[in-house]
Amino acid sequence: MSDIDNYRRRFMTGVVGVAATVSLPAGLLFWQTAEGKSNDDAGLASAKTRWGMLIDTTKCATGCDACVRGCDQENGLSGKTSPTSPQWIRKVQVSNPSTGNGFSLPMMCQHCEEPPCVDVCPTGASFKRADGIVLVDRHICIGCRYCMMACPYKARSFIHQPVTDQLAEVPRGQGCVESCTFCVQRIDEGKTTTACQDACNAEGHQAIYFGDLKDPNSEISKQLAQYSSQEVLPNLDLHTGVRYQGI
């Protein structure tokens, strides 16, 4: 090889070597900023609480979708049911083909204790908060939809187009995944009911209980202690926060 090529080789190697050495601490600094680590740990959501829901399907009326309307209104959803429309909660009609027996129930994110969606999220955007609510941190969701593949309840929706009419309390936008949040914006304000629960009560069915599973004096805990209830897909051992009576 000629002297010029030799010189060029050493020049480039020198530049790359120095750039690589310099970029190590710079990269570390950048990484730490991106992590945005906070020292403030005076948090409000704590593990002393676990939010849960109990749905009495014997009171759930076939054909009624008040809970869905309530959720749509609270969270600024369109209420459309096209294949690309987000649905945080839906009414499912279940019937036994052999016996003819049937029931209906609302299905939403089950806020599992061991959520498969949290396991598979590459960035950790899908996470379980200290108080048991499973959420998507839309700041770091990259929209890969792996959590949607992983959810056994098909609870998650992807936003397929730009959103311009979102509510201020419920930010949502194109390219991220979302699901039922147990009305976290209301919970964080100190309220203790979800929109679907309020809507169901307004309709007179009183099929939805919501409250702190770790508080033995909450209405939901008393109901759970007194009456038998089941998870959907109990064989998966996910210990869901949402339980049903009469399924």
Binding site: D65, C121, T123, A125, C144, I159
Partner: protein
């Protein structure tokens, strides 16, 4: 006589036409990605029920083939078969190119492609996708190192450790790719430990098919000599891999057919799933496995270069069909919230989820193919990836035929 490696001349109109063609394909893919990013995924056929579509079919195929393309080099270095040594540099190049193509498609399909940096700085290490960030970048690194040890005499003594490293690494990578699906307990099509080794075997088959295609085309178009000894060895190996894939598919479906709870899913794939049934039997089995085996081994066709070329092409098409059935068919079949019961809802519970691939998705996938083509065509002109001749006389006298 030592086999010499030489860069392609790459000055003919045909060469520039070929390179230009790949670049145009890349640009079309980028345009599609821009459209998806601007208007949202609403312009694709993907929905809340079928969340991964054609881009993922292409991308997973390319990523699986990338790992398998490195096989030829591994046989030379790890298994010590000197016969394959001249074939090794192209193998590593193709591996890098295919992985780059697959990753391009995956990253451009993200709902928020602008957040790829977030994916590289925030990790949830229980997620296969998070491991993949390291597995894929590590694969690039290992393959590049491997190529360096093959091309630079000063470091050729590191060839064996580099080869071993690349081999182990790509087994981890492909296990990860299969486990993307295998770890999903939610879907009846996945949720199986068999998927990881099946993907490994599929990678052997697809990777070698792509390698053989590229090899034959490169030598035909650059007017270099390639003898039938090389082609015969490679096509025999391909036949073994195609048969091995068939075995895994057989075990997968036989096991599913044994479980009563899987019968509905199997009936869907094997009998009344419409496009999925057609693609399984027609695409994956007949075109992708049976026909290539006949072409590769039947006395009438096994010596015909055209037949072998066709067999490789069919394996690739069959592989794409297999990806479609696995990825999209697996999502089209509804989830069982209440096993044994009939479900209906506004969110398409209990019904087969319809999916029609859109043009933007197909073009995005083809854009990834363009990346592969552009990298390979450009690299063989820049560097000495291709032996000057792989003629029988050159191969036979120097290397032992085992």
């Amino acid at each position: 006589m030592q086999i010499e490696f030489r860069e392609l001349d790459g000055k003919s109109n045909a060469y520039y036409g070929l390179l230009g063609g790949w670049v145009v394909l890349v640009l079309v893919g980028l345009l599609s990605a821009f459209q998806m990013e601007h208007y949202g995924h609403i312009i694709t056929g993907m929905t809340n029920q079928v969340v991964w579509g054609m881009p993922h079919v292409f991308a997973v195929f390319m990523i699986v083939a990338a790992s398998g393309a490195l096989n030829v080099a591994s046989i030379a270095t790890v298994f010590g078969k000197k016969f394959y040594k001249p074939l090794a540099p192209l193998s590593a190049l193709l591996a890098i190119a295919l992985l780059a193509g697959g990753l391009t498609v995956l990253m451009l399909d993200l709902g928020r492609s602008d957040r790829v940096i977030v994916a590289m700085t925030h990790y949830n290490f229980k997620s296969v996708f998070a491991w993949n960030v390291f597995l894929y970048t590590g694969f690039f690194g290992f393959a590049a190192l491997y190529i360096w040890t093959m091309m630079d005499r000063n470091v050729s003594r590191f060839n064996k450790p580099a080869g071993f490293g690349a081999f182990i690494w790509r087994l981890m990578l492909t296990t990860g790719t299969g486990s993307i699906f295998g770890f999903l307990v939610a879907r009846q099509a996945y949720d199986s430990a068999l998927l990881a080794p099946m993907f490994i075997i599929m990678s052997f088959s697809y990777g070698l098919a792509v390698y053989l295609l590229v090899l034959m085309l490169a030598y035909r178009w650059s007017k270099r000599l390639i003898g039938d000894v090389v082609i015969t060895r490679l096509k025999n190996l391909l036949g073994v891999f195609v048969a091995a894939v068939m075995y895994f598919v057989l075990v997968y479906h036989l096991t599913n057919l044994y479980f009563t709870k899987q019968h509905d899913f199997e009936r869907f794939i094997l009998l009344d799933g419409g496009i999925y049934t057609v693609l399984f039997w027609g695409g994956q089995i007949v075109l992708g496995s049976v026909l290539p085996l006949i072409l590769l081994y039947a006395p009438a066709t096994r010596k015909s270069v055209n037949a072998i070329f066709a067999a490789c092409l069919l394996v690739v098409l069959g592989g794409l069909a297999q990806m479609y059935v696995t990825i999209i068919g697996g999502q089209a079949f509804p989830l069982q919230l209440f096993p044994g019961m009939v479900e209906t809802s506004s969110f398409y519970d209990g019904v087969i989820h319809p999916y029609t691939p859109s043009l933007v998705e197909i073009l995005l996938g083809l854009g990834g193919v363009g990346v592969v083509g552009a990298i390979v065509v450009f690299a063989v002109k820049l560097f000495r990836f291709l032996p000057e001749s792989l003629d029988n006389s050159v191969i036979d006298t120097h290397h032992n035929v085992h």
